[in-house]
Assembly symmetry: C2
Homo-oligomer: 625 residues x 2
């Protein structure tokens, strides 16, 4: 396939502004915080393999993945925010992990010290291959950041061992993991090492999934359990209800599903598999068009941490796990490379600015696991969680943020996201430095400049977000017609570029009212506010209690103003709305006098910044028209 290649996080440096600030806090606060919490909870010590029954901090089945994601985040950060102390911790931890590897290559704390006799006996629930996948991703990141191969070798030894254990051979187990992750990790490992065996193992895991007789049923029976007693009740939970190529609808646990679709996209690209690509496209589209919150959050139900039915998007009880929004970004990013279509960049941007970023406090040290779109005031960030997948996941995403901004393909350069940055790359043999200056999303101006050794002919493809209907493009002060030339969300300018020419893009961000389709019962008679890529919300701190008493009339005028001192600097939307008068009640609960409304001013802040002040109510979809 004629895919794009992302400019790697190694070659894209954020230089100022919105994402720079997030990445800085991530490096300074979040990464050290996650390390400390991993230490406090025993996740680091677990690798010493000296836990004994009766001791506290029994290593849990998914602990290895938390540590691996931290390592991955720390590795990325070694390049963007070098820090000797972090580097030392990384190396010490890798040494500890290397020593924990068993002679056969196996590497898992829980199944080595807690239940050694149960290795590979419960792939459905045990997270064993999932943890392995995160170790592989961490090892690849560490190798790319440092050039040192020792961690990568540990990961390869483990992958080699897994390749021996699993497969369709006579003495092999025909299993796969209940929590997808190793599939995409093996593709990464294959690409980093050039080892095709890992790619084939990834393909095996994807293709084997959901076949009959069902592996999870067989292994349950082998454990002496009745497969029908499965706590999740359905193999849809793990996307193994039918073989992957028969899956037409996104089902089950949202993170697991998106990680599977990531691997499907990777394999489609690697094997030039158009059937797999079409499946992946349809699944992604189904999510984006019927099962995604306006914040890019996924998962309507706590019960399965995942999907329920089309258009079932309750606000207060939204699960919308931070990891699911991150997984959506990872999948959108992969599909974007294959299809070069702005619809993926739109979803990527929506999730990044809203449902992902809400997962971490502005201060970087507390976290949301769930990201509801309405709260009565009882939902707050926590320091840690027994299931702590989200904090290290957001840490690794922010640390490698640079990878999302640009892609290249032969003599084309794609700009997907607008963020002040500097990128160094080779395009069609031209060494290029690109600087992007912008205060996006607080300002509509973006300015790009290439530094070239000599004039070079290539195509610059600039994404025009779907929310922007009046973008303007100038090159060296000359207006370039834009909307007529728009192809799949990108305006492509092919010319002979000279050094220091100035590309100026203006992306006006008027305040938009957003409506959900009638099928979304929760949002009937409701409206959300969006400005540029940012979804807004009302908070009690600005609007008092009972946010659902507010009503936004169609003609209410709204204005946005950047407030430097507010929430680290955000644009606030202000305007007049109606508030139902809390009437002087005289007993009767129900009465025929219609409610009265008074004019009140309202203020909305970006959704990602909520719950960073006095705790209280929050509402994204307000009553209105």
């Amino acid at each position: 396939m004629h895919t794009l290649t992302p400019l790697s996080w190694q070659h894209v440096q954020l230089t100022s502004g919105f994402w720079y600030e997030r990445q800085l806090i991530n490096a300074r606060v979040t990464i050290p915080t996650v390390y400390r919490r991993c230490g406090e909870t025993g996740r680091l010590a677990a690798w010493r393999l000296d836990w004994k029954p009766g001791m506290p901090n029994e290593p849990h089945v998914f602990w290895d993945s938390d540590v691996a994601k931290w390592l991955e985040a720390a590795a990325y950060s070694l390049i963007t925010h070098p820090n000797a102390e972090i580097e030392q911790r990384v190396e010490d931890l890798i040494a500890l992990i290397a020593r924990a590897q068993q002679p056969d290559g196996y590497l898992n704390t829980h199944f080595t010290v807690v239940r050694p006799q149960l290795r590979w006996t419960n792939l459905r629930d045990g997270h064993e291959l999932y943890c392995a996948g995160h170790l592989m991703e961490a090892a690849v990141a560490h190798y790319q950041a440092t050039g040192r191969e020792h961690f990568l070798q540990v990961a390869c030894r483990y992958a080699d061992y897994i390749a021996k254990v699993f497969g369709t051979g006579e003495k092999q187990r025909r299993g796969y993991c209940g929590h997808e992750e190793i599939e995409l990790a093996l593709v990464k490992l294959s690409r980093a090492t050039g080892t095709r065996r890992y790619l084939e193992l990834a393909k095996y895991f994807v293709e084997e999934r959901g076949r009959q007789p069902h592996y999870f049923d067989l292994e349950a029976a082998a454990r002496g359990e009745n497969p029908h007693d499965y706590w999740a009740k359905t193999h849809e939970y793990t996307q193994s209800h039918v073989p992957v190529r028969e899956q037409r609808v996104p089902v089950g646990h949202a993170v697991r599903g998106m990680y599977l679709y990531c691997a499907m996209a990777d394999l489609a690209a690697e094997y030039d598999d158009h059937e797999l690509l079409a499946l992946c496209r349809n699944l992604f589209q189904h999510v984006a068009e019927r099962r995604m919150y306006v914040t890019g959050g996924l998962g309507s139900s706590r019960a399965n941490e995942g999907y329920t039915s089309d258009y079932d998007l309750p606000n207060e009880t939204a699960y919308a796990e931070t990891c699911a929004a991150i997984a959506l970004c990872l999948c959108a990013h992969r599909m974007l490379q294959i299809e070069a279509d702005g619809v993926y960049a739109d979803v990527l941007e929506r999730a990044l600015f809203n449902g992902v970023l809400s997962g971490v406090a502005l201060a970087g040290d507390t976290f949301f696991y769930e990201n509801p779109l309405a709260s009565r005031g009882n939902h707050h960030r926590w320091k840690w969680h027994h299931c702590s997948c989200c904090p290290p996941n957001i840490a690794r995403l922010l640390a490698a943020f640079g990878q999302f901004i640009y892609s290249q393909r032969e003599d084309e350069l794609y700009v997907h996201l607008y963020a002040a940055s500097r990128a160094h790359f080779k395009l069609d043999k031209h060494a290029i430095t690109l600087s992007q200056e912008t205060n996006y999303p607080w300002d509509e101006h973006v300015r790009l400049r290439f530094h070239l050794e000599a004039p070079a002919e290539f195509t610059l493809a600039l994404r025009i977000p779907t929310w922007c209907r009046a973008a303007e493009l100038k090159i060296n002060d000359e207006t370039v017609p834009l909307y007529a030339a728009l192809q799949r969300g990108y305006v492509c300018v092919r010319r002979l570029w000279e050094s220091n020419e100035v590309v100026e893009l203006r992306l006006p961000m008027p305040i938009e009212r957003v409506y959900a389709p009638p099928e979304v019962a929760a949002n009937r008679g409701r409206v959300a506010l969006q400005a540029g890529p940012l979804v807004y919300c009302l908070e009690e701190a600005d609007n008092g209690k009972n946010l659902n008493d507010l009503f936004l009339p169609r003609n209410a005028k709204l204005t946005a103003q950047f407030e430097k001192g507010l929430l680290g600097g955000v644009a606030m939307i202000s305007g007049m709305a109606q508030r139902r008068v809390a009437s002087d009640y005289e007993g009767a609960l129900y009465r025929s006098a219609p409610p009265r409304y008074e004019q009140v001013s309202i203020k909305a802040i970006p959704y990602f910044a909520w719950d960073n002040r006095t705790p209280g109510e929050m509402l994204v979809w307000m009553r209105g028209e």
Copy 2:
């Protein structure tokens, strides 16, 4: 206390119209149906006491109460709808029950044949005294209906035995039942037999409730359980978290609570206890003003089948058990006798016409346990339920419906409800026959006539429902000023009445829009329709799917029309509203184009009559203004 006395069901005959029809179907269909289901499920055979472990139909702890409530219903019906076959079944069943009574007076199928060793060891969950209470109510009804004393004697022997077992004496158990019922039953038994000991036992059960050390904790510990492992987590569930006289807020299981408040009201009247009365008044008021559905339903949560917090009244997940609405009627009726205040009659009427009556199908043979105020089309009546408290409960309520209509006190006659009926009674030594002619609630006219042996001076107190703001009263064609004379919801006319004088009351029933206070989150931006005492709802059968796409503007004109052929004859409300256009979607889930609305006609039917046609969606609180 100067309380009213209800004219008994024995002396009030329904003659035509709304409640007559319901009582007829109750006698002809519901009572035989409940008997048949009790037979099919083993509830009748259980009284043979020949169940052995391993046999099907193990008698459940609350089965006795289902049978007892059927007996009570059948006994009332022997007077209003004499039926030799039913009478024979009643007598056979009573004989069976009498033979099941143990030598010491104990009478319970489950704890005699299934767990004989566990008698009185789990009052919290075992329903033992609750079942005893229902047997007592049934025995009193049978005695009053037939004058025969044998069942009453069985009940008295059981009550005598219970009075020996429970109390504050040295060798007595200081227990009480987890499910209130026996308290109000003992008051009935005391009144029927003139035995003060039963009244005192009722008082003991009420006063002992919730004292420390907590009896349920002590008995749990005695069973070898940790009291903290109580499945309901809190003694609020059984209203025993604090002593009754310290209870300020209605809590826990709604039926249990209302049965307790019934007994509190009874005891307040019997003992002239104004403190207890004030408590009861406040608890009732708290329910009616903050925790009651517009249908008179109670219980917002399935988890405790009861209360959550003030104004928490979700529609689709409303529990609103039929029995809870019935219990509310029983309590309102008792408070009405004590306070002679229309607020209780208003609640009584609201619950009877809506949340109670919805519990049984128009055909009388299927039942709702829960009565939600909105349904996506998946809530339907069932033939039977493992917990079948509601069908016999509604059967006994309808069979004794006459008791709710009138009360007397010295030379005053109160008319609480409007229903075509004939009543025979003595008022201040005058023998009076009162005939009430009306087609209420389908018609606004009520016509009362007294048949007197000689002219008699007395007061006629007519209730003017709060929903009626333009009532008119004429006596012998002469208009009587009404609203100026209104006292606590009643207009009182004192005069020397002659036989066959005509009292004509007109109660106009315009269609009213009903609004909930802003505190009720579920009903923000929503409106319900009511005409007279009837709450209306939209059904899919009349309005298509997606009822929440409809919006009722303030100026929409609505008209009501009685439809003879519809649902056994009901008034239907029609009018124009707006329906959100289900737009042709082109991918994007969220967009800035506001929704479009089209004019459509809507039709609403009385809530009690829903789910009697093609199954589908239902909605009481529609979007509107």
